[in-house]
């Protein structure tokens, strides 16, 4: 039996092609994945991301607990509403999950974790808290829905739908959030475009979805979400990183704070391991489509595509690949596609941001 979000009926009413996504019955597209991709780059689209899980952590020592739990440093969170992207590592330095942490007050932080890893994450966090901070309360919020509204016109269209939202959100910077009644509005996303991720009570989600639609926000499925995040150079857990690969080999060194005195789970392992691989961008020079698990051949050694696909914005194939550290942007490599070796150029990603091609 597949799990469903509060918007399941709304997707079906909009003729979504539904797929099993890690045990969740989710919309792949509503007719054309390409059209949905372009609408997000050019106007505004909305994604049901209610399969992801918000986890509220409350208690006096929550910040201290999070200092040791995750690889980024929650002490960067000084203003309530501010959000931080981070990895949660195991003691070997592998990635249990990537998540966003919202600082709401000194006694209340909210984590948003991936759908496929949610149960594992809760188990891990609970077991760590049991040892280190037994007075914390950890509450998975399956009573909430999450809708991402993304695109250059996304914020204005949300303002038209939620009364009073413009005045409290127009000065939010990226990775800031605010509560407005039942709505929790964050200027975050997974597309490389401006917009909001809005958390609200599950019972209000379908009505809000319809109002956004009436305001000219197009529904977009997981297919477009994947091509948009790939163009934006954003990692996908389970593809570009996993429990057996660390953040330093996954293009996420910027999210790991090794400078402070603070200890965190996985720190020792990261400091002890030499880094021999890096995550890099590839742009295919020949015709074809790059896909995950294809072999990459460079002068310095071999690597593998972790996420590949067709970039609708660039009209050519792009990929993220884990390759030897010596390979530099501008180098040419080869990718084994079926019986051929196709030429690809190594680039610094993101490929696309705010509608503009950067490579």
């Amino acid at each position: 039996m597949l799990k469903t979000t509060p918007l399941n009926a709304a997707h079906r009413a909009m003729n979504a092609k539904m797929v099993d996504f890690g045990g969740w019955d989710m919309p792949l597209h509503y007719g054309s994945q390409l059209d949905e991709h372009h609408i997000v780059r050019r106007d505004a689209g909305m994604f049901d991301v209610s399969h992801m899980l918000a986890v509220d952590m409350r208690g006096e020592n929550v910040r201290q607990f999070l200092r040791g739990l995750v690889a980024n440093n929650v002490d960067k969170l000084t203003v309530p509403g501010k959000a931080l992207y981070t990895c949660m590592l195991n003691p070997a330095g592998g990635i249990i999950d990537d998540l966003i942490i919202y600082f709401l007050s000194e006694s209340w932080f909210r984590l948003v974790v991936n759908a496929g890893t949610a149960d594992k994450d809760i188990d891990w966090i609970t077991s760590q808290a049991h040892q280190l901070a037994p007075d914390l309360t950890i509450t998975p919020r399956r009573d909430l829905a999450m809708i991402a509204v993304q695109g250059p016109n996304a914020r204005a269209k949300v303002w038209a739908v939620i009364p009073g939202s413009q005045v409290v959100t127009e000065n939010l910077k990226p990775f800031q959030s605010v509560e407005l009644g039942d709505y929790f509005i964050a200027r975050t996303g997974y597309t490389g475009e401006d917009g909001f991720e809005i958390t609200l009570p599950a019972g209000q989600a379908a009505d809000f979805w319809q109002k956004l639609h009436a305001a000219g926000v197009a529904p977009a499925g997981l297919g477009a979400r994947d091509t948009l995040r790939l163009e934006a150079g954003m990692n996908l857990y389970g593809q570009d990183m996993s429990e057996t690969v660390g953040p330093l080999e996954s293009g996420l060194a910027w999210t790991v704070d090794l400078k402070s005195e603070r200890d965190f789970i996985g720190k020792q392992a990261l400091q002890a391991q030499p880094v021999s691989q890096q995550l890099a961008g590839l742009v295919l020079l020949d015709k074809g489509v790059l896909r995950s698990h294809q072999k990459v051949i460079a002068r310095q050694g071999e690597g593998e595509i972790t996420s590949g696909g067709f970039s609708p914005t660039m009209n050519q194939s792009i990929a993220l690949a884990r390759i030897p550290v010596g390979v530099a942007a501008g180098d040419q490599v080869h990718v084994v596609v079926r019986d051929k070796q196709l030429a690809a150029k190594v680039v610094k990603y993101p490929f696309v941001r705010n509608g503009q091609v950067l490579v």
Binding site: L28, Q33, K287, G288, V289, S317
Partner: protein, 129 residues
């Protein structure tokens, strides 16, 4: 689901049209097109290449996945539709107009073994359940 009565079909979701000159035209069915979604890349066999029946000879790739195309019957490739190579989306627009390649069959026997529209419809019905 559109399954034109005048065409023949394969279990791997190619359609086959018997032409007046004895050649056959090959494409992918509406069912295959819908499963794959927006097409972004097509690679066709070279004209002059001789194919065995069920030999994988072409590739169509959508935003979602790559799919091999198999020769419905053995024979020589006498034409490839370069139009769909440059505009793969034509397969989504009308998969029965956007043919992929033409073959000169090596033997008539293999044509007789293809599914007719009724047989293909039954296959689709069974896959749906």
């Amino acid at each position: 689901m559109s399954v034109p009565a005048e065409l023949k079909y394969t279990e791997s979701h190619e359609w086959v049209r018997l032409e007046a000159d004895g050649s056959v035209t090959v494409g992918i069915t509406q069912h295959a097109q819908e499963l794959l979604g927006d097409m972004v890349f097509v690679q066709l066999p070279d004209v002059g290449r001789t194919l065995a029946q069920r030999e994988d000879c072409a590739v169509v790739e959508s935003v979602k996945a790559a799919s091999d195309i198999y020769a419905p019957v053995g024979g020589e490739v006498i034409a490839a539709n370069t139009d769909v190579e440059s505009s793969p989306e034509k397969i989504n627009e009308d998969c029965y107009a956007a043919w992929l390649f033409r073959l000169k069959p090596a033997s008539a026997d293999e044509i007789g073994g293809l599914l007719d529209a009724g047989g293909y419809q039954k296959l689709l019905d069974s896959e749906a359940h």
